[in-house]
Chain length 270, copies 2
Amino acid sequence: VTRRAVAIHGLGLIGGSLGLALRKSQDAPRVLGFDVDEPTARAALSRGAVDALLETSDDVDLVVTAVPPRVATELVPRLLASMPPKAVLTDLSSVMLPVLLAAKGSSRFVGSHPLAGSERSGIDAARADLFRGARVILGAPVEPVAGMWRSVGATPITMAPTIHDALVALTSHVPQVASTALVRTLRRTGSMTALLADGAGPGLRDLSRLAGSPPDLWFDVLTLNADKITPALELLEREVRALRHAIERRDPELRALLEEGRSFRREIFP
Amino acid sequence: VTRRAVAIHGLGLIGGSLGLALRKSQDAPRVLGFDVDEPTARAALSRGAVDALLETSDDVDLVVTAVPPRVATELVPRLLASMPPKAVLTDLSSVMLPVLLAAKGSSRFVGSHPLAGSERSGIDAARADLFRGARVILGAPVEPVAGMWRSVGATPITMAPTIHDALVALTSHVPQVASTALVRTLRRTGSMTALLADGAGPGLRDLSRLAGSPPDLWFDVLTLNADKITPALELLEREVRALRHAIERRDPELRALLEEGRSFRREIFP
């Protein structure tokens, strides 16, 4: 029996962490990696995130793309055309439908989006335990891919790509925009950052964390999933306005608005 | 030398934590406590947050009010009129100016707002280390009060009450409203909470945490500091709208909006 081989394209936070985790897993496959940025590829090799850099002659069973979503829409069709016929390809973008469309619905392709991350990025931020305990949403139940995620301690769940994209618009993309909008509001008030830091409790740190995420990645995600995100952002504007009006008028109804928010939060995170 | 005595009015999360911390501090004062809610008072006594419940005949050096801000505006003038002449009173509300006005600017009064907390509340959530490493904003440099905070591991800093209120509007009150607005947005979309929980990464958990805070407390805070909060909320609405429009149009400018947010976040939290 020959040892399975996985090729990872893109060795940043996500691809690098997957490599580190796979190499430490039971029955670890051979992990081959590629990154367009040579220093990143060398750093991945020296950190032990890959066994070796990928050669065009390498035979692999599983191909993983961990690149910005806009790059994925270009890279995925090319890899599907060139990879070994037995191989399966999974793309780790946090937007599924545009990549699935680029893959022309190939049965050898499935999106898998790990609900794990960090506002840090790049190979230096990669960690072997990034996916431990995390859920991974799969666009279809493809066993070699589900098995790969289980082997690094994650829990795969299956969801139609269009539902996935609508769901992460609410749970991830709208929070991302809300965090950026909040930080931009502080910036607009012209407040000195030293003073803001003096007045900052743990709440502001938590709420502004996502605003520290990489802008290039988020430009792709937000624009690729724009149709699902913008209606929810319109609702967010209305909710801020309703709360502002209730505060302005010292309206007793404000108590109910806050209470409904608290109850719903407890339903999501019991 | 007789041992100093501190009276704490209100034995919830904040008052209870202060009692626990003071009793464990070096040269611990005698800690006397009062709460209008009898089960809370008994729980504080049995948890060791106070040495004894406060009696009207007790002689004290320092009086602390750790009650909802609206209650503070009524309680503080009454206590100033009845407490021993040597005693100093500090109120721990997160809004300073309305309580200072209620105290009629008495030189025996100072607001002190610890930048520490939890979305949990009540005596059961109290912890001896709640203030360790936290900053406490004092409305004026009053030594017995500053000394009390240092004795529980906090760092007192002095700031004019009106600047404090403007600052916490930005760093605490607007984030609170943003968090509630975000959770209410999810609620408005009619999404099933089980599905939302499936799709929730660490980002949503962080951003929605403040929405879990006690509504009654926040009704007081937001309405007492309304004048400072509502202009910033108007800016927040505009920032959400600007981001939404940039996403809708796939505007390359969106990258700059995200990047400015990221840079400013790094200035506040290097």
